[in-house]
Symmetry: C2
Subunit: 492 residues, 2 copies
């Protein structure tokens, strides 16, 4: 059955789509570029969201909710931000439909219900939030403001892909306000570390922490920190960003505060976000040609139990054994399902749960009952082992943890193999064409060179790694002097 | 400080706004009719949402996510639903802004980026969801579909009020699909019971379960079940609805399934929702002229501890005592805050937490340390008691539960006093004018009479209570025969 899935070798891009759709995570919708996140995919997102939310709260943040719409006059207040998003935003111009006088039962936009001022569907919320912070912040005692929002945002992308790039997506956006530049920078770095910790420890996906070049910064930021991950096809994926916004938004929205020294100063800002795009990264980093492979810590279902039997008598014996096991697994906090549906064969179920990436499968047959054993299959390695039923819950708990670690180690090993230095242009081009991955190369520090390299190779500077080693060299394109290597890659 | 709040007697409507704004729940925004839900208000919503979500999951439902936008052609497919919402929906017509050639730094809608088909910002999601269900449902084995969505929706209301009626609001919408009419009706009733249980046991707000008259049904439903609550000003508030949609949406979107008997049949549907409007109900049902009164089970903060001291030495002694107490309260699962901020006086803090409706305040001063006591103040009754520190956590846990029950009982007593029978028109009008509340009266069963009564008195039929007693009588307006009383009220 898993042969519904195109192999990576055959067509990597189709393989990805097959995984998302046949793994039951999401599907296309009737709205251009928007997806439906199906229950299985949404359960995965809930696990990710809940973990992130608790990490945000542990670092002192609170949630709030701001309007979906941004009046055009607010949207354009911070010029760089507005310029960055103006080309791809959904705009509400009317507030009423009316019956079409020419076609019964059809509706048309009522031209009399035109808004005086158009509303932009938020592509990001800095504008509406900083316009609100103006009323929240008067004195240093009101700072810091450490607010996060879980929300949907809309960016009218022309070429969309499920999870990776959709017109509407779900995300969280933190928006913080601080009394000093130093404190805001520390906040931006702290949240980058929270993201890295989440992606590495929960999604089993190693990341490189770095800072973006000016060309790749968020529109309106002074600095954009990022975490970059590597996909199986050698392309990089930006998994999260954290921005130091300086006083740009405070100035655009006139948000000043009275310091301890009784002076009026503009507030310092950060914003940071991760989105359902992370699910795309998860899918592409770990899965194989049989389907998804989900890390146990965030998998909606960690264990599936499948009975193998002939006749009602065998079924009854298995049911009884499973009942006790099921209770114990639940008590151990494991998300487990007993699939005893009788309309499909066990082999079909095996393929189905492999496709959905359930980390552990337990099969139990009549002979297992006799021998007091079960067969355990790991999704990640596809290894099968026959083990005793005694002490099974503890074994499963440990196995899930082992799978989590192994998945991370494998991804890290792959990633590390795919960071390659290039010392001149020919090496660079050859590496990009033949091997892919991150290429560590010298660059002269100018946006022009960066643009030129992108034009010639589609590779961009993914980041300048934090704590990058200083090393003298010459730019691979221009030969001009450079003090450090930066990481290039083709990217999603 | 609490005198910032207008009294109910002086101006009930202003009292409500003061509570919401000065109680730090929400505020107006720059977008007409949209609100900002502040961190304290959002924490309240999170507690409500999480509890509801777990009740939905316990009854077999899963979450998913569907697009924010509904293409006009889908929106108009179910005619009654479309007609019901067409007059109040936000419409996206363009997908790009561009620089205003006449004003530098300003943006205008790019006329070249007009959508071929307009998109309606979802006022409710039946259309987009049933268009999706068409691909999910083929056979009886795919049924039931029990899906819920937490989302924002937009209804372009002309007169808005914080929480009660806003252009954008947060809600959940369940959308289920069933093989039989009977099963769908049972689902609609089950979810009504879930809502009633939540509102009564968690929000401490008694409700009347009933069914709407045809006039008051959800657009596109065959039956709308509802829970109705009573506010302190004698007006009713619809707190939640659950709809039996029959096969209307299945027919509009051609969703058929193969029955066990190998026949093609249309699927049966329900939808059900509650929203941030519940917060408005909560505020109006329980609060007083000093501020909010929040039920302990959903209060963001259940206990606040305030130290009263002179000098650092006393403060240190109190800090030490509180430290142990604080840990114990946390371990008992209590949401507690120690407010030892030094820039405001204890009296100011007392007023502040009363305004925010924190159920229990613990004050601890130097004499308390000597006597091994604390002062406990209940927010709901404003009673203060001096009690021993020994066994305090257990006492607090019990007190919170007692407050929860007492709040429900008080609201129920009030509600019960305000269900009054009226046997003729004059009584009805007098009751409405002088007493308010629910009026149980006979009605001839026609929409015309209902409309006429609404026109004359602004009272509507809130519901026909479930398990209503049959009783012969005559309609208060027309004198025509009636078999049962229905509940009238003026409503939010």
């Amino acid at each position: 059955m898993s042969k519904e899935i195109t192999s990576r070798e055959q067509d990597y891009s189709q393989w990805y789509n097959d995984l998302v759709i046949k793994g039951d995570l999401a599907d296309y919708s009737a709205v251009r570029g928007c997806m439906v996140i199906k229950p299985y995919g949404f359960a995965l997102w809930e696990n990710m969201r809940d973990q992130l939310d608790s990490m945000f709260k542990d670092t002192g943040h609170v949630n709030a909710y701001f309007p979906l719409f941004v009046p055009k006059s607010l949207f354009e207040a911070e010029e760089k931000n507005a310029e960055g998003f103006a080309k791809e935003c959904a705009i509400v111009t009317h507030y009423r439909l009316k019956g079409d006088p020419e076609k019964k039962g059809k509706l048309i936009v009522d031209p009399e219900a035109k808004l005086e001022e158009e509303l932009v569907v938020r592509p990001t919320s800095e504008a509406i939030i900083w316009n609100t912070y103006k009323t929240w912040i008067q004195s240093y005692r009101d700072l810091p403001v450490l607010v996060n929002q879980w929300a949907n945002v809309v960016r009218w992308e022309m070429r969309t892909r499920l999870f990776l790039r959709t017109a509407e997506f779900l995300w969280q956006e933190g928006h913080t306000a601080h009394a000093t530049s130093q404190e805001a920078i520390e906040e931006a770095e702290k949240m980058l570390n929270v993201y890295a910790e989440f992606v590495e420890n929960w999604m089993a996906l190693p990341v490189i922490k770095g800072v973006k070049t000016p060309n790749e910064r968020f529109a309106g930021a002074l600095d954009t920190y990022c975490i970059e991950a590597l996909m199986q096809d050698g392309k990089a994926l930006q998994a999260g960003t954290s921005h130091f916004l300086g006083q740009n938004f405070a100035k655009a929205f006139d948000v000043q505060f009275l310091t301890k020294e009784n002076k009026q100063e503009y507030v310092w800002a950060t914003s940071w976000g991760v989105s359902t795009r992370l699910i795309g990264a998860l899918v592409m980093a770990h899965s194989d040609d049989e389907g998804l492979i989900l890390p146990p810590r965030i998998a909606p279902l960690q264990v599936v139990v499948v009975p193998i039997y002939k006749g009602e008598e065998q079924k009854a014996l298995i049911d009884e054994k499973v009942k006790a096991l099921f209770r114990e697994l639940k008590l151990s906090g494991i998300r487990v399902k007993y699939d005893d549906s009788d309309n499909v064969r066990p082999g079909w179920k095996f393929a189905e749960y492999e496709k959905k990436g359930v980390p552990v499968r337990i099969a139990i047959g009549a002979r297992d009952i006799e021998n007091n054993t079960v067969e355990i299959a790991r999704r990640d390695t596809r290894e099968k082992t026959s083990v005793s039923m005694d002490g099974l819950p503890v074994r499963i708990v440990n196995l899930l943890e082992e799978i989590q670690q192994d998945m991370f180690e494998r991804a890290k090993q792959f990633r590390d193999e795919y960071i390659t230095p290039a010392d001149n242009w020919d090496e660079f081009v050859e590496l990009l064409g033949k091997k892919g991955g991150f290429i560590a190369a010298h660059w002269d520090g100018t946006g022009e060179t960066e643009d030129k390299i992108k034009e010639l190779t589609k590779a961009t500077i993914r980041c300048i790694p934090l704590n990058n080693e200083k090393e003298e060299g010459v730019c691979i394109l221009t030969g001009k002097p450079s003090m450090q290597r930066v990481l290039f890659a083709q990217a999603y």
